[in-house]
Symmetry: C2
Subunit: 519 residues, 2 copies
Amino acid sequence: MAIKTIINAAGRSVPLEINGQPVIPFKGVGKHRPEGGKYSPPIPTCSDYPDDGNKVVISLEEALRKCGLRDGMTISTHHHLRDGDLVSNKVFELASSMGVKDLVWFPSASFPCNDLIIKYLDDGTINRIEGSMNGPLGRYVSEGKMKGTAILRSHGGRVQAIQDGEVKIDIAVLAAPTTDSYGNAKGTGGTSACGVLGYAKADSMYANKVIVVTDNLIDFPCFPMEIEGNYVDYVVVVDKIGIPEKIVSGTTQITKSPDRMLIAELTATFLEKSGILKNGVTMQAGAGGTSLAIAVFVHQILKNKGWKSKFGFGGSTKYMVKMLEEGQMEFILDAQAFDLDAVRSIENNPNHIPYPVFNAYNYHSKGNLTSLMDIMILGATEVDLNFNGNVVTHSDGYLLHGIGGWQNCLHARNVILPIPLFRDRIPVIVDEVTTLCGPGELIDVIITERGIAINPLRQDLIDSVKGSGLPLKTLKELKDETEKICGKPQKPQFEEDIVAAIKWVDGTIIDVVRKIKSC
Amino acid sequence: MAIKTIINAAGRSVPLEINGQPVIPFKGVGKHRPEGGKYSPPIPTCSDYPDDGNKVVISLEEALRKCGLRDGMTISTHHHLRDGDLVSNKVFELASSMGVKDLVWFPSASFPCNDLIIKYLDDGTINRIEGSMNGPLGRYVSEGKMKGTAILRSHGGRVQAIQDGEVKIDIAVLAAPTTDSYGNAKGTGGTSACGVLGYAKADSMYANKVIVVTDNLIDFPCFPMEIEGNYVDYVVVVDKIGIPEKIVSGTTQITKSPDRMLIAELTATFLEKSGILKNGVTMQAGAGGTSLAIAVFVHQILKNKGWKSKFGFGGSTKYMVKMLEEGQMEFILDAQAFDLDAVRSIENNPNHIPYPVFNAYNYHSKGNLTSLMDIMILGATEVDLNFNGNVVTHSDGYLLHGIGGWQNCLHARNVILPIPLFRDRIPVIVDEVTTLCGPGELIDVIITERGIAINPLRQDLIDSVKGSGLPLKTLKELKDETEKICGKPQKPQFEEDIVAAIKWVDGTIIDVVRKIKSC
């Protein structure tokens, strides 16, 4: 049965229906206007909950049964336990043993530890994943093995979909490092501390049923209440929700590659010379090796100039914490902690503030944190000559990454992508991105080891670095240089079948991923 | 046109329709089951809000215009500025000057300063008040002068009505002592600090439009975000939102009446001898003179025994703060501060925690703080022989008080009413309450200056104080004693017209107030 497709405003062929549900094609940045009201979960009543507030049940299986787990339900989890998560897989192991079929897994992200989920995709427990598909999970999808069609959303798009009722969560299973028996929960404390639970708020507010799973039950009241017990149905206490050393890395590591270090240095110089970096600057960078190096360079510039960043938005790392502690950053607003220093800082520093993605990234809200950021440092698997970006597929066509907060972050004032010209001899700058994740009009600067390309739409930025001696080039020039070294890569071959849809921040479909052609 | 009435489960004649809307008669405690989903406010989009997050507009009038203020809308305000509130009246002054008619005022409470509102009830700007009507406002309603029918809800019933969509707030005008331009707001800081904004959360979450009014605009980020900027449309900066000395009293005052002091002492003795007061006890008392005296006695007992209260729920006062600071109370959870010591404590003591009424009191939630409380000290204007309580009308039939959190607090484990036998020679214990606000099955102990009556339903409590020497009596005995002194008061005379409806915590109608018969 052929699926009807249409060419969307980005020129991509997208379906009008996914998994039997109608969807809206991308209309252009800021063009789609939502209609109607937010999702309205069922009204509960206190008379169904214990007077003493003790919602502890004997096991996760018991909690799932009490939530009425059945075929076709949507189960959400968060990724704060990262590669040390012992809860998400367990849900589907239990569901499988209970004979439940065709579930939708709706995680806020997935990690290598979740590769085990393939077993439950294979045995029919899970129909599809709506969320990030990294590594083997992505490969599984690209090869057309998943029963349903994957839907990839940004972190902000995920909470928008929850709020708007595009995704109705039947059961949210939320791991929490510390909880009281009423279900109030936080990301600090205990042996599985992840620092902050910034990805759990929307799930807890809008899911029909909410289960909190912990290995550290404390007396009421647990605070700050990152998850509010008023939204929680059941609390489950287990031996271990996560493997501590895999939840946060002991230390996040700066790049050791000379090329990446060169890119980082060039980025810092660009930020300084363009005047974007200034006293009171607001900024966000990731936890990748290049981003961390940039953070260190920026910190040094702020120090030298006697400047202070107003705030940074986490994922937080020890490098941000250092800025905060040494006085070059006033506040860290934080939705997730990447290392132990960040966890410690959240617990102890009142200026290191939990700030949920629901508040930071939701485009269907009355404002957004990302548009307040002066400097946004992002990556990409591919950038094309129109500055369009791809973060989910590689040039071989395989779906290998989630979107993360990338699309949301494109709304910052200055979006800068420090990227290498090639990875494993595959050029990063291409004629046209394999998968469109972010429109070029939102991407301002590409910084590579051989030069800087500024989006012609940002004449102000071009003017700001005139005569600065910075190696300005066009994307075409950078691409040609790279192809001289690596050659022009072969285009991947796809079948017609759509295996994944890529949503834009407003819930519309910006592109799709098609099945890899089998050789 | 006669309004159809029905006898509800409490034996009261109540209408099936109020202000043209169908309503549900009270069915008994815990008997009504809500149907359907929570209210779903319109989905906003970031594209309608400024990228730089600056939502400041030039005046409250401008903000009201931008919110589309028009005839018939429902306007909510909170009462955190208490008798020093300079914002609520201003809204209706502006509305009146703009020629807007038939508004519904939906405050979380009203104070003497709000008596000015009568002007806007008279001139047709306001159709009715749904909220507490104290003093002159209540008299105005009782005399049948208000165009629409008043609806009185408990603090928890108010947030339940918001959440469930029984009341759809068109515009919430929320005064805030400190705000950033994005609309994040809190109760501390500035010259109008009220400590905490525990009554503003539901309004901000569910109102279609939200205006924050402040006299202390600070740089983003304002935290803790008691009001989240993500729900806020406009920010208005004015010279003064409140008169500081009327926002919180300099000090809350213990009773000086020997009779009340006797009641307080008897209450403390009862709490101790019955065993209700114990190590780890959870308790709540108000800010009235008798309650404060009880708090002081209880503090002394805890100290003598080396016990600690697990937590107390505010309204917070300096007497609770003293327990916290001296180590006899582990946490204060707080929705409103009553005095300056409480405001200071919230600002500085990490164990004094903002805890919104939306979380504490909403019966249509997954649990409630009140059912976790061991000791609940409450007042009443009347109690009848079936332990039923009245808090809104006096024995003369006039509506003179709001419900406050009283109904919600009835769900505590031990509900104790320390009340005088008479006020101004009018007996407090009566054959049948003038207005039923709380069913007797939820009221456990009445403590008066001449004896203690324990509800026969609480045989456990009766047993607990057997042989303790406490002056146990029946309500009948106490009533007879009082009538010997004061005589039996005349029953008030009412007309047929219903001027106010009293809601139970689940949104059903437990009773009504009828128009006072004109002499």
